[in-house]
């Protein structure tokens, strides 16, 4: 081989190496672990288009799964979305790193009221930014409910917690969230007690109420009710506001004649906040910050709110939100409803054990 040929080969080899390393540099990723049915896919596509960072998107349907993974460490996730009371305990356990706010210029868009409520769990908003928030209430199929009882109290927890009322709807199917931190406070609130009570006797009293109505419940599950409501398989569910509204949208899209509605019970309901945070051992913290900053763009978070029917913690995004969603009191509750909504503080290990034990007892009768 001539010298020229050798040199050409060398150049080609050099070019190949450059191309490969270039491809590696471009191959930036961010591993996101979010709730199921909680984003508009196009937001992820836009993010990759704008930043060149690939999104590896994974979902969960329970705070318990997320927390267990986080406490074991080494999850490989860069952005996770725990609910506020779980976030508080995880911060205490040292799961998260503080957010470098200089890398989050879009923080100017956050809704101060929401940030203030979140600060109860994350003092100074140092570790987390609110993603979306909503209420835990009642999803129902108005046609099926009315066929059984035209005067059914769909705007009250009575429809679930009053044994005589709930028994009427057993035949058409009832699903309830498999989440004691949602149902026990709701039962406590219905009993006229503090929904935030960590007292064993109170939690057990709430458990007794739930046990008395449990035979009427077809399934305890935290994600299947969306499809079950949309397909008309069930007529009543205790679920998250946006999930129920997604069921409504899916039924409308499918044109299957099923209608779904959501109500915030008049006795009060739980207000929940799901928040983006970066684990202390995240492999790509820079990309995680870029992702959070992108989600904080008003038009991007608005796209997701329009898609999943949840309110977000971004005030500037409201002008991009579909008026039908912005004016829907089931999504953005008015000031009057807000007064009845309650937040939940984290359970300490002792009360957590009572909570889980009571919940097992509700589900299995043991």
């Amino acid at each position: 081989m001539s010298k020229l040929g050798l040199r050409a080969l060398g150049a080609a080899a050099g070019l190949t190496v450059a191309l490969i390393s270039g491809a590696q540099a471009e191959d930036k990723v961010v591993n996101v672990f979010n709730w199921s049915d909680y984003i508009d896919q196009s937001v992820l596509d836009d993010f990759t288009k704008e930043t060149g960072i690939k999104v590896v998107y994974d979902v969960f349907d329970s705070n318990d799964i997320l927390e267990t993974k986080l406490l074991a460490g080494g999850t490989g996730y860069d952005v996770v979305v725990p609910s506020a009371e779980f976030l508080a305990r995880q911060i205490q356990a040292g799961v998260f790193q503080k957010l470098d706010k200089s890398k989050l210029p879009n923080l100017v868009n956050v809704w101060p009221d929401v940030a203030e409520r979140l600060a109860v769990y994350d003092p100074g908003n140092e570790y987390a930014v609110n993603y979306m928030w909503g209420t835990t209430g009642i999803g129902y199929n108005p046609d099926k409910i009315k066929a059984i009882d035209p005067n059914a109290p769909v705007d009250s927890w009575k429809i679930l917690f009053d044994p005589e009322t709930v028994a009427k709807f057993k035949s058409c199917g009832i699903y309830v969230l498999d989440a004691p931190e949602e149902l026990i406070p709701a039962a406590l609130n219905y009993l006229g007690k503090d929904p935030n009570s960590k007292d064993s006797a109170d939690i057990e009293a709430a458990g007794e109420l739930l046990k008395s109505i449990a035979p009427n419940i077809q399934k305890f599950n935290s994600s299947e009710y969306i499809n079950a409501l949309a397909n008309g398989d069930i007529c009543l569910a205790v679920g998250y506001s946006g999930d129920v509204l997604q069921a409504r949208n899916r039924a409308a899209e499918a044109k299957n004649g099923v209608t779904v509605a959501y109500s915030v019970p008049k006795e009060g309901a739980k207000l929940f906040f799901d928040n983006m945070a970066i684990p202390a051992d995240a492999p790509h913290p820079e990309e995680a910050l870029a992702f959070i900053n992108f989600i904080l763009k008003p038009e991007e978070i608005a796209k997701s709110s329009n898609y999943v029917s949840y309110a977000n913690g971004n005030l500037a995004s409201q002008k991009f939100i579909d008026p039908a969603i912005l004016n829907d009191k089931a999504i953005f509750p008015d000031a009057e409803t807000m007064k009845h909504l309650y937040g939940i503080s984290p359970y300490d290990p002792k009360s957590q054990r009572v909570l889980t034990r009571v919940w097992t007892s509700v589900k299995t009768g043991m």
Binding site: D64, L71, A93, P349, R357, K363
Partner: protein, 301 residues
């Protein structure tokens, strides 16, 4: 001199061969087991990982050891939930194993008596389901068993069920048994087949010549000779079924109490690693008893 072997060298090689399975057990069974035992003696805490004490360095190791307690084991005896869950798991595993034996034995017998050329194809067919993920196969059963599922549709098409009648199997213990028998069948069939295939069929001919009726010949000759396969198949199924989690979770109702689900609740809902470790250690002890019986059986046979 070339054909004499160095006796010490060969015994060294022998030791190495014997040591491999022990080393394997030490690394993949004993070490994890001691970690679990260690965690079961600690207390839950808000930390990462969520228990105390933790071994940071050798200097404080003794302090950590002194904090160990048996509280978690005492706790398991105080709440009837755990004993009920263990008993329920053992009951479900026992019934499932008997069902598996009843279904698996005729299959294995048929395979062993099939013409030689066909046998390999039959073994292949038993193994074939493993080519699809176990999880997907269990999910498929949801589609079959649910009230508006395939089985209901079939029964309605055959006019066995009226148009409004629906199968009420999904989310019950019956569905759990169906799922377990389906999933574990190869583990029962293959050891039985291995035992039955080795059998000398001239023994049955001799029995027939001597006037023994076929059924009696089966109980006097075939079954006793297949006993090693029966024992192996039963233990291969019984032991993992006791700790089964996926099948009761997907096919069973919320009322199906099994120790696998209880362990899950301790680990994920309570984030109580120490108690869930204690549950796991007790489960292991419960299972060691049948394993020891199994090994003694094998020595005898």
């Amino acid at each position: 001199m070339a054909d004499t072997k160095d006796p010490t060298g060969s015994s060294k090689a022998k030791w190495l061969v014997v040591a491999v399975p022990y080393l394997w057990s030490a690394i993949f069974f004993l070490a994890p087991f001691f970690i679990i035992v260690k965690i079961s003696l600690s207390q839950t805490a808000i930390a990462m990982p969520p228990y105390m004490p933790q071994f940071k360095d050798l200097a404080t190791a003794w302090d950590a050891v002194r904090q160990f307690s048996l509280d978690n084991y005492v706790f398991l005896t105080e709440d009837p939930l755990y004993i009920a869950a263990y008993l329920s798991s053992l009951r479900i595993a026992l019934i499932s194993t008997l069902l598996l034996l009843a279904v698996g034995y005729p299959i294995a017998y048929g395979m062993a008596r099939a013409p030689k050329g066909v046998r390999n194809v039959l073994v292949m067919l038993v193994i074939l389901p493993f080519w699809t993920s176990f999880l997907i196969r269990v999910y498929a059963w949801i589609g079959i068993l649910k009230p508006e599922g395939l089985l209901t549709m079939l029964l309605q098409a055959l006019h066995i069920f009226g148009p409004d009648q629906q199968l009420k199997i999904f989310n019950t213990e019956t569905a759990v048994f169906i799922g377990i028998v389906y999933s574990y069948l190869p583990f029962m069939v293959l050891p039985l087949y291995a035992a039955l295939e080795k059998m000398d069929h001239t023994l049955l001919e001799a029995a027939a010549d001597l006037g023994c009726p076929p059924l009696q010949a089966f109980w006097k000759i075939t079954f006793p000779l297949s006993l090693p396969g029966v024992v192996a198949g039963c233990f291969l199924c019984f032991i993992p079924i006791v700790g089964e989690f996926v099948i009761p979770d997907l096919l069973g109702g919320s009322g199906t109490l099994m120790i696998g689900k209880t362990l899950w609740a301790e680990f994920f809902n309570n984030r109580d690693w120490p108690v869930s470790s204690a549950v796991a250690v007790v489960l292991l002890i419960i299972l060691v008893v049948p394993i020891v019986i199994f090994q003694n059986q094998q020595k005898k046979l």
